[in-house]
Symmetry: C2
Subunit: 170 residues, 2 copies
Amino acid sequence: MSSQAVRPGTGIPARKSRSAKGRSQRIEASDEIGLDALVGHAGYAVRRFQLWIFQDFIKTLAAVDIKPTQYSVMTVIGANPGLTQVAVAKRLGIERARLVHLLDSLEQRRLVKRVPSATDRRSHALHLTAQGQEQLRKFKRMAAEHDRHVAEKIGKENRERLLQILSCFT
Amino acid sequence: MSSQAVRPGTGIPARKSRSAKGRSQRIEASDEIGLDALVGHAGYAVRRFQLWIFQDFIKTLAAVDIKPTQYSVMTVIGANPGLTQVAVAKRLGIERARLVHLLDSLEQRRLVKRVPSATDRRSHALHLTAQGQEQLRKFKRMAAEHDRHVAEKIGKENRERLLQILSCFT
DNA sequence: GAACAATTGTTGTCGTCAACAACAATCTTC
DNA sequence: GAAGATTGTTGTTGACGACAACAATTGTTC
């Protein structure tokens, strides 16, 4: 109706609307929108950060096809050989049902092996294979690079502070 | 075969194994397992924290059946009435495909309405309904309580510091 | 030692979520 | 007006957390 273009809802006159992209440069579009009460909620910031950090981890370790959860499983087993599946699951806060599939995958890739426990015929003792140990060293180097990305993003000292604040969750 | 019980794999003699639970108190079992390199990775701590914080949010707002994502959508729309779906999706970092279902749900509950845009017949202008605005005020009070839980968990000043560190992701 | 309860690994289902791909309707641009 | 981009929508895929059930085994109790 009105001849003046208006950003719908805001009541603010649109400056070239969103067609400013026509001029060779496209607006980022993610900003210039108020969040108000959303900023100030820890959960929101943490969710965005967690999303970013996982994507970077996956991208950095894409060549070896290792996802964060797989890395955490191998790390725990590598540091504590012989653990049962429940023990690993509890330690990492994942369900033992889910760990089954994770171990299936890792065992298929000859990185982890399930050894029947001598003392409890129900449980398995989890170990890294020889190449599993070798590969894990490689993974750790790549994960260290990923952590450098994190440090670049939020600052080295902020990363340290973050780890300290969240230490009660590890 | 050996008479001495041994924690499988570790080679360390088991101190009463894991059957210490027989004596009226059960071992927490989540600790006494080394994480080694896992502590020191920001991603792991953040994942655990994000899990905890979302669960607390859901629990705290269980009476009104509002999940974190729904809350963030309503908050953004409330602060910027008339936004299109793509704008909201980009701002919150969720896919527009996913936002469709979120809005379907919120619209069914008469909290949000999709108004056909006057300037672009493809897009919808998103608004809170009258009761949507009213309810949102209630949700915000409950979310504030949730944030108090966070402050109790990690400390008030740590929460502030956390928000500041992660401000580049909001 | 027999009955009962608890644990371990496994399988399955359900709902949430991110990531894509495709599509019709519509708008922009040339 | 034709070509290309955008918007909302539908659908699929795979990762993930939460739950429930089950057989095999172990622990506990009378």
